[in-house]
């Protein structure tokens, strides 16, 4: 499912509310279980949020992963040696790709992706899309993907939501018919 809309429409706020990082009204359910029925840390492991800007707190990349081997390194163009790199030497694109792998290592059932390919070159966009499509297939995961790229939304999503001023403006399900382009 892709989510788009102008800046300030509330896309990031919506993702943060679903991940239970901000106080919010309304209720969120996963497979019939209410968010509030689960301990917060467990909910966030099942409903993983990839923020637009990732944060790293240890010196070494590998220290951020729960264990080795780390799945998906090769698919995103890294060798295993990246785990020994100091975080300070990562470029913004590398950070973004590694942040996705860090999140996927927890095997969340739902992925909330806040413009995951915004800093990437076309080759890496393709790699990331392929990895995510494969993960969705393999884990039967649900993806809520914020993007400004209409072509990406068309490639990746069956259902497309458009937010504006904090409200849902459009909800389109792809049924083989071409979907009208979302405003970006």
């Amino acid at each position: 499912m892709c989510l788009s809309g102008p800046s300030g429409a509330g896309k990031t706020r919506l993702l943060r509310a679903v991940a239970d990082l901000d106080p919010h009204q309304g209720a969120v359910y996963l497979d019939g279980t209410a968010c509030v029925a689960l301990p917060p840390a467990r909910w966030r492991r099942r409903v993983g949020l990839l923020p637009a800007e990732s944060h790293w707190w240890e010196d070494r990349v590998g220290a951020h992963f729960p264990g080795t081997p780390v799945a998906g390194l090769e698919e995103l163009g890294f060798g295993v040696e990246v785990l020994d790199w100091p975080v300070s030497r990562l470029s913004s694109g590398e950070r973004q790709r590694l942040a996705l792998l860090r999140l996927l290592a927890l095997e969340p059932a739902v992925l909330l992706l806040d413009e995951p390919t915004a800093n990437l070159d076309p080759a890496n966009v393709q790699r990331m899309e392929a990895l995510l499509a494969d993960y969705r297939q393999r884990r039967q995961a649900a993806l809520l993907w914020v993007t400004h790229d209409a072509a990406q939304a068309a490639r990746m999503a069956r259902r497309r939501l458009v937010l504006a001023n904090g409200a849902l403006q459009q909800d389109a399900v792809r049924t083989g018919e071409p979907v009208p382009a979302a405003r970006s």
């Binding site: 917060p40 840390a41 966030r44 923020p51 944060h55 707190w57």
Partner: protein, 265 residues
């Protein structure tokens, strides 16, 4: 002990006036600040002298409790006043004051009853200096530690939320901050104990020597006080950091920086 008369103090005051004259040539405001501070110290100390005189004349637990309460509330206000980011809704004052109460009062009462063993245990000659020193130092430790905690939580909110997003518990996500805050609150007393006698002669000990106590007796009291201060500061700082770091999160373990309000100090 040699008693000081008004003339002796006036001579020292003249020296302050000379300094103010020099300061005025540098900056008029500096001289004014110096004179106001000198005036404040005179008035405040004379007033507390009168209060202590009255307390010494009427030894009663009630009066001691009242004075302790006033000291505690002033210290609690002072902890708040030093914070750049304060907890909203009186939480900062409440947590600082409660931590100081638990640590300083418990340690003071323990020292008075068990270690010093005076009769009655609340005799002002021992109770007031002890409580004053403990409160003053605990106040410093707590205000430094809370300032460190709230400021770092603000600066590193990305990291804290990043840890939450990876399924860490709130306590895990701020464990590093907690450690650093407790450490920074304890550094002043650790430094003071390390430098005591070598670099600096602690004020209480020198005061006792001036008043005619044998140096070794004064030293023993100073060691006792140092130990009590470190325990009081340590416990108070731990309690305040524990409470404040819990208040940074809500029941769903969300980082709630909206519970802090920024103040220019």
């Amino acid at each position: 002990m040699i008693h000081l008369n008004a003339l002796d103090l006036s001579l020292a005051a003249v020296l302050v006036l000379v300094l103010a004259g020099l300061a005025a040539r540098v900056q008029g405001r500096l001289a004014a600040q110096l004179l106001i501070a000198a005036l404040r110290t005179t008035v405040q100390l004379l007033l507390i002298g009168l209060v202590l005189k009255a307390l010494f004349a009427h030894v009663h637990l009630l009066w001691m409790a009242l004075l302790s309460l006033v000291m505690l509330l002033v210290a609690g206000r002072e902890v708040m006043a030093r914070q750049h980011r304060r907890f909203t809704g009186g939480w900062g004052f409440a947590m600082g004051t409660l931590s100081m109460f638990l640590s300083s009062f418990a340690v003071t009462v323990l020292a008075l009853v068990v270690i010093i063993g005076n009769q009655p245990w609340y005799a002002p000659q021992y109770a007031i200096p002890l409580l004053g020193m403990l409160l003053g130092n605990t106040m410093n430790g707590i205000s430094i530690a809370m300032e460190r905690l709230t400021e770092t939580a603000w600066q590193r909110r990305g990291e804290i939320e990043g840890r939450l997003m990876l399924g860490q518990e709130a306590g895990e996500a701020v464990a590093g901050l907690r450690r650093e805050s407790v450490r920074s609150g304890l550094i002043p007393i650790i430094n003071a104990m390390s430098a005591a006698g070598v670099v600096s002669l602690p004020g209480m000990m020198t005061g006792q020597i001036l008043a005619g106590s044998p140096p070794v007796e004064a030293v023993k009291y100073q060691i006792l006080i140092m130990f009590l201060i470190s325990v009081g500061t340590g416990l108070g700082t731990l309690a305040a950091v524990w409470g404040a770091s819990r208040r940074l999160f809500d029941e769903r373990q969300r980082l709630r920086l909206d519970r802090l309000r920024s103040v220019r100090t």
